[in-house]
């Protein structure tokens, strides 16, 4: 009984701000376009989605997040395999180094990243943001994948090589199917950390390529339409919620890692 009450208290705490946002998002908070303030309906959503800037920002965010996830997984897989299967000079130092990069505060690096990327022509482009987000996502992907590969018995590798599989063919035909849930979990964390990040996403989009998080900032003005802002917020949660749903059974398995 106490456990159920505790769970209810937790759920209230976690859900209350979201409930508030949903309520406001279906309420007209300002009178315009013939709709009186206080009317209930989906007009905020249709207004938000009718805005070409917002539509473009959704595309931009999706582009860099997907690019980032793909890049992180592709680069992290071989590294995680090396760490899980071999010991080599400096392996512990490598783990410590990626930890350092993971905990480097983005504000520290924002300025030189901007200067470097403007010289490389990567400002205002999804590619730039996708690359920068690897700074904190790649370490996470390596940790998660390493713990999953470690859980696969080395006998799998040996049998595959005895069967005459080459390195790449073993990777794609045996290893990747064996750790599919791990790839899902790694992709989940890369996705959400990239989707919610604002410091780099703001710094690297000066004139164009604005992500969703910046589109919402543009809605604050002399007379902010709270309903519109909340509708945008709710929309921005949809991909994340969908990702949570996809990995719900594996989410807790990704972190049985060694320190």
């Amino acid at each position: 009984m106490i456990r159920v009450l505790a769970l209810c208290a937790l759920a209230t705490f976690l859900l209350l701000p979201l409930v508030q946002a949903i309520v406001l998002s279906v309420t007209a908070t300002l009178t315009h376009g013939g709709v009186a303030a206080g009317t209930i309906g989906l007009m905020n959503y249709s207004n938000v989605l009718a805005d070409p800037d917002v539509r473009a920002s959704i595309g931009n965010s999706a582009a860099y997040v997907l690019l980032n996830v793909g890049l992180c997984i592709a680069v992290a897989l071989p590294a995680a395999y090396a760490l899980a299967r071999y010991s080599f000079v400096g392996d512990r130092h490598f783990l410590l180094m990626i930890l350092v990069f993971r905990v480097t505060p983005p504000v520290v690096l924002s300025l030189p990243i901007f200067i470097l990327f403007s010289q490389l022509g990567l400002v205002n482009s999804p590619v730039g943001i996708a690359l920068v987000h690897c700074l904190f996502n790649l370490p996470v992907a390596i940790w998660i994948l390493e713990s999953f590969i470690r859980a696969v018995p080395p006998a799998l590798d040996e049998t595959a090589f005895l069967d005459g599989h080459s390195g790449p063919s073993f990777f794609f035909r045996h290893l990747i199917p064996a750790i599919a849930p791990g790839i899902g979990v790694a992709a989940f964390f890369c996705f959400i950390f990239s989707w919610v990040e604002v410091v780099f996403a703001r710094v690297l989009t000066v004139t164009g390529g604005k992500p969703v998080t910046m589109a919402i900032n543009a809605m604050f003005g002399f007379q902010t339409d709270t309903g519109l802002v909340m509708a945008m917020t709710c929309l921005s949660l949809v991909p994340g919620v969908a990702m949570i749903w996809f990995v719900r059974n594996d989410i807790a398995r990704g972190f049985t890692l060694r320190a």
Binding site: R3, L10, V23, A79, A82, L138, R248, I251, R258, A259
Partner: protein
């Protein structure tokens, strides 16, 4: 025992080159800027350690450092025990725990700049669900320092509790049932099970939580700035708010020196933590 083979470095090459471009190179650039006075990118003067001395000697820096450290300590001491408690609670629900985990993970997918928007909407005196109630008990986050702190801590806890819960739950659910059965046969108390079985088994996951939560709370910016911009007075001026002001004011050299200092502080804490928690020699 894993075979020893230094060719494994070849598999790390893609990761290393990527991190080199987006991590190491910018870091070196920051260190370089920190020793220069930068008017424009073509007008740069060497100033040596001047910025560092200026910053370290200012009272504001010391005060902000104290506030940031206090905030981290408070955030960790609320979120870590609470997260473990929630994970234990969920563990008791067996298969249905997945729903609880999904619930806890929900705030993690909210874009950072929308977290304060959600909460300010919730406590808005006119339209918020909690607004009238909080106004009735005299809650005023704009002008009462204690209330601002409480609000930022509540927001941060709401945002990040899920991470602690997910990682703690992952560790806890991996404990073989035989451990608990043996403890039950021995008549171990609930506290003894927690102290001698559960906490040691989730130590690895918890150390990651500790580091991530320390750094993120120590370098909190988006929430703190959006909620009260460092006010009332200077009561919630954290380290990052000063850095943000300098970047907005285009004093890049000083900002870089400050960024370097923050990086060194974070690095020192991480190093101390890793050294203190390193298992005794020998492969686990």
């Amino acid at each position: 025992m894993r075979p020893h083979d230094n060719r494994a470095w070849l598999l790390l090459l893609p990761a290393l080159s990527l991190l080199g471009v987006v991590g190491a190179l910018p870091l070196l650039a920051v260190f370089n800027y920190a020793f220069h006075d930068i008017f424009t990118l073509s007008s740069v003067h060497w100033v040596g350690f001047e910025w560092f001395i200026d910053i370290l000697q200012s009272d504001r820096f010391v005060a902000s450092l104290g506030r940031s450290l206090l905030f981290s300590v408070l955030a960790l001491s609320i979120q870590v025990p609470l997260g473990i408690a929630v994970a234990l609670l969920l563990l008791g629900f067996g298969k249905r725990a997945a729903w609880g985990l999904m619930l806890c993970a929900l705030p993690l997918v909210v874009p950072w700049n929308m977290v304060p928007i959600l909460w300010l909407g919730l406590i808005d005196a006119d339209t918020g669900l909690l607004g009238p109630g909080l106004a009735a008990v005299g809650f005023d986050y704009k002008f009462t320092a204690l209330h601002t702190w409480a609000l930022i801590l509540a927001v941060d806890t709401w945002h990040w509790l899920g991470l602690v819960v997910v990682l703690a739950y992952a560790g806890l659910s991996a404990i073989p049932p035989a451990y608990r059965q043996a403890a039950a046969i021995d008549g171990a108390s609930r506290w003894a099970v927690l102290r001698h079985i559960e906490l040691p088994r989730i130590a690895a996951a918890l150390s990651i939580v500790f580091l991530l939560r320390f750094v993120d709370s120590f370098m909190i910016y988006t929430e703190a700035f959006a909620i009260n911009a460092g006010g009332p007075g200077d009561a919630t001026r954290f380290l990052t708010l000063e850095l943000g002001e300098e970047i907005k004011g285009f004093s890049y050299g000083q900002a870089a020196a400050r960024a370097t200092l923050y990086f060194l502080i974070v690095l020192a804490v991480v190093w101390a933590f890793v050294a203190a928690t390193r298992p005794p020699e020998g492969e686990a």
